[in-house]
């Protein structure tokens, strides 16, 4: 029960597993149809959300993303946040680089929109 999507020039690595704490989205996310790409993660979660370890951490380590991905990422974060509000001890870890305003501001914006609390890590 895992989901592994290898990274491409336009889409990130996705590495989700019910057997470990860390769930990872990593790289560049600029597909024209981000909805289609992120649907694979939603499909995996539809089937396995309840099986994820109770202390699962979702690591968003992205270099940059397009607006279409921004909406798709937000939908995913919304889903995780819903679980947290229902009492699950999940964590969102958002990575940013010191020399890039975009990633930090995007993470802070999502956090505020969701009334959530992310852990921000420099990479």
């Amino acid at each position: 029960m895992n989901l592994k999507i290898e990274p491409s020039q336009s889409s990130p690595l996705v590495d989700f597993s019910v057997l470990r704490v860390g769930q990872h989205i990593q790289g560049v996310s600029i597909p024209v149809d981000a909805f289609e790409f992120y649907k694979q993660i939603h499909d995996f979660l539809d089937a396995n959300e309840s099986k994820l370890l109770p202390n699962s951490e979702f690591h968003f380590d992205l270099k940059y993303f397009n607006t279409s991905s921004s909406k798709a990422l937000f939908n995913l974060l919304q889903r995780i946040q819903k679980q947290i509000k229902e009492g699950r001890e999940l964590k969102v870890v958002w990575y940013f680089s010191d020399d890039d305003d975009f990633m930090l501001e995007s993470g802070e914006e999502f956090e505020q929109l969701l009334d959530a609390s992310f852990e921000f890590r420099k990479n």
């Binding site: 336009s10 397009n66 607006t67 921004s70 909406k71 937000f74 939908n75 890039d100």
Partner: protein, 176 residues
Amino acid sequence: MAEQKHTLTYEGNISDDLRSFMCSTLKQSMEDNMPEAKRVNKLVGFALELLDNAQRYGNGTKIEFEWTSSGNELSVTVKNLSNMQNAKRLKDTVDHVAKLNSEGLVAEYRTKMLDNKFNESGGAGLGFLQMAKNGAKDIKILIEDAVDGMCICSSTIIASIDGTDGAFNGSAPAQQ
């Protein structure tokens, strides 16, 4: 001292891989030439949004792309064939965004992010809101008639490179 001017142009087909390559090239070029690189992803993001639109609406036809940085000003133009309906919708979106002040931009962005809609074309108009929020000074959409109900849609975004003077002015008068 003369202002430094850098121009990158491309004419041809567009694909995911090509967009990715162009973004990496622009990013590297900006990082090599800018003393303050914190805004690089935002600036490259402007080009990326216009290229996304061209790929989405261009029906696999060739595009023209031009990126010019001169002094503190960045100008990005993408020209592509489009059907008239999509081009007009694009222009209407820009005209609408142009009427919003900074609070309006944030409110509309918030609404669109929370609305759970994801139209078949992707970002549900978020792209132009995002660009205006990220410091675009001006966005222009020009539409020229072509054959068979198609048109040439030319999208230009102007932004200051260092993020100063970033108040969004909205769309220039339409030239159709």
